[in-house]
């Protein structure tokens, strides 16, 4: 793609050409500066409030003082419920779509289409659904369980898509070889295909975690607001994202703690995203990351 630069950008071109080059570079610079502003703001204000005490203590005075210990525990519990649901269901679906439903398979196409639609559903609609179905209809109430299950519905399409791509990347010769050896499909799956598709699974997992950690709107009416340490998954628990929302919108003077929580959340996401692109860069083509990210 560099050939373009040699053709004209360096030589004297037309006016339109020079202007176009200038505009694109200005755009890039502007965007870079804008996001630099955002990131430095978060780090500058957030770093001051982060300490060991902040990470472990319970919030006091509506979160203005104290820390975010119980909130981190709730966040991780919600994530745990979400993953415990998504992993088996998502892997099963991905294996079915990738290995048992060739293109043109009616049922497989139907499932793929509905997953595509599911991926586009706005998060607040997941919140409404989670509240109506898990909290009210199934009687789970505002709880970590309801929140995690609601998030699972949201994360499922992302995880399945990535798993399926991982399975697709496994060369057919492996399947043929396994079939020629008389291996059952179950053995082929557990001993050949899934290990070979592990990078895809890992990327899907990591992307799903990222999406789940970032989510707020779907959780407000399913996992609830309670900022105490949860005793079980039937207790209501406040996630980090909801904590940031509460502190900035409903608690006057909560900005400092909100910056701190935002920085903790972003650091968690950064580590996870770093992991995702590391795995993706190592095993998958660079190309897929663009679409998945």
């Amino acid at each position: 793609m560099i050939e373009l630069q040699h053709t004209g950008a360096g030589r004297s071109g037309g006016l339109a050409d020079k202007m176009a080059g200038f505009i694109f570079k200005a755009m890039a610079l502007g965007v870079a500066l804008l996001f630099l502003w955002l990131l430095t703001d978060l780090v500058r204000h957030g770093l001051g409030s982060i300490s060991v005490a902040f990470l472990t203590e319970a919030p006091r005075n509506a979160g203005r003082e104290g820390g975010i210990g119980p909130i981190i525990v709730s966040t991780l519990s919600i994530l745990g419920v979400c993953l415990a649901t998504v992993l088996p269901l998502g892997m099963g679906t991905a294996v079915f779509l990738g290995e048992f439903a060739p293109p043109g398979h009616g049922f497989g196409t139907l499932v793929r289409r509905s997953l595509d639609v599911l991926a586009g559903v706005p998060s607040i609609v997941f919140g409404l659904f989670g509240n109506a179905f898990f909290c009210v209809y199934l009687g789970l109430g505002f709880s970590i369980l309801s929140g995690g299950l609601t998030l699972a519905c949201m994360v499922l399409p992302i995880f399945i898509r990535s798993c399926e791509e991982g399975l697709r990347a496994v060369p057919s010769s492996m399947r043929h070889a396994a079939a020629a050896l008389g291996m059952s499909r179950f053995t082929t799956l557990t001993h050949i295909l899934l290990p070979a598709a592990l990078p895809g699974l890992a990327v899907g997992l990591v992307l799903g975690i990222g999406r789940a950690l970032a989510e707020t709107a779907a959780l407000i009416f399913s996992s609830g607001y309670v900022d105490r340490m949860p005793q079980s998954i039937h207790d209501s628990g406040r996630s980090l994202s909801i904590h940031i929302y509460e502190l900035s919108m409903n608690v006057a003077g909560g900005d400092g703690a909100a910056y701190g929580s935002a920085l903790v959340l972003i650091s968690m996401l950064l580590v996870i995203n770093g992991l995702a692109s590391h795995i993706a860069g190592k095993w998958l083509g660079k190309h897929q990351m663009g679409e998945l990210g």
């Binding site: 339109a16 176009a20 694109f24 679906t93 994202s241 995203n273 692109s277 190309h287």
Partner: protein, 287 residues
């Protein structure tokens, strides 16, 4: 090993998983409709755009349920965000492909991936503490349609840019080599060859961005003021459909609660239409 999991069983088990995953979207739709229907009969479809205002109540007869200002708020915020993020997003993708040095392009893609992962609540919080005070100096109250559109635009920019970027990857190399051989200058090549070739992919990116903006809740809720009114100017506070659900769901009962589910259904229809359009515009990866 597991005799039960001999092949027919495996097939059935996996089919069950796939069926459950596939049925999820149907389940969501059913629950939205079931919760909406009582309000449709007691409030009546007509009230949603003819009532004098949005002042909902548990009993349909005691409240008024005009959703038009919030639909307008949602559409205006999305439109303005797209006007900003569309050209800039595509511009960034073009910059990465044809103007940046390889190192810069790589850095930019990393930055965009990072930004796409930042939670919307963090964008909203930053907008509230950094953008809104600046806007308030220009024109009170600061929290407004403009602030909402700006934050939405910033949020969807990475999505638009990343999809546009992968669309540009799909421009056949021969076309670029041909254009270079003809001595075309970069801009003529971009305008005359590259943009027309990648049109479908770029359009997909725009539609996906618009879908994300329409469905976004937290960021817009935190910066746009949340007054239910038709936006008169850019500086009027607005409330979007999504923000309305998030704000009122906590205490909504009876017909009010059902009305919120109707707005959820409306949102789902709007966003799903955009997603389907995006799929039709871009070439499918499956099949």
């Amino acid at each position: 090993m597991f005799p039960l999991l001999s092949d027919p069983w495996l097939n059935r088990l996996l089919k069950l998983c796939a069926g459950m995953s596939g049925a999820l979207v149907l389940l969501i739709l059913i629950f939205l409709v079931v919760e909406s229907v009582p309000a449709l009969s007691s409030i009546g479809l007509f009230s949603f755009f003819s009532d004098p205002s949005w002042s909902p109540a548990e009993e349909a007869s005691q409240g008024s349920f005009n959703m038009v200002p919030m639909v307008a708020g949602t559409l205006w915020a999305t439109l303005l965000a797209m006007l900003a993020a569309g050209p800039v997003g595509i511009g960034l993708a073009i910059y990465c492909h044809y103007y940046a040095t390889p190192v810069m392009a790589k850095l930019f893609r990393k930055l965009l991936e990072l930004l796409a992962g930042i939670p919307s609540v963090v964008y909203g919080f930053w907008g509230l503490t950094a953008i809104v005070p600046i806007l308030a100096k220009i024109h009170q109250p600061g929290a407004s349609l403009l602030a909402g559109a700006m934050i939405l635009g910033i949020m969807i920019l990475p999505t638009v840019a990343l999809v546009a970027d992968s669309a540009l990857f799909q421009v056949p190399r021969e076309l670029i080599q041909g254009a270079t051989a003809l001595g075309m200058r970069p801009w003529s090549m971009i305008w005359g060859v590259i943009l027309p070739t990648s049109r479908a992919g770029l359009f997909t990116g725009l539609l996906l961005g618009a879908g994300r903006a329409l469905g976004e809740t937290m960021a817009i809720l935190m910066v746009s003021g949340n007054v239910v009114q038709h936006p008169e100017t850019l500086f009027s506070p607005i409330r979007t459909l999504t923000a309305n659900i998030a704000l009122e769901m906590a205490y909504a009962l009876g017909d009010h609660r059902n009305a919120l589910f109707i707005s959820g259904l409306l949102l789902m229809i709007m966003v799903t239409t955009l997603v389907i359009l995006a799929e039709l515009a871009g070439r499918r990866r499956y099949d």
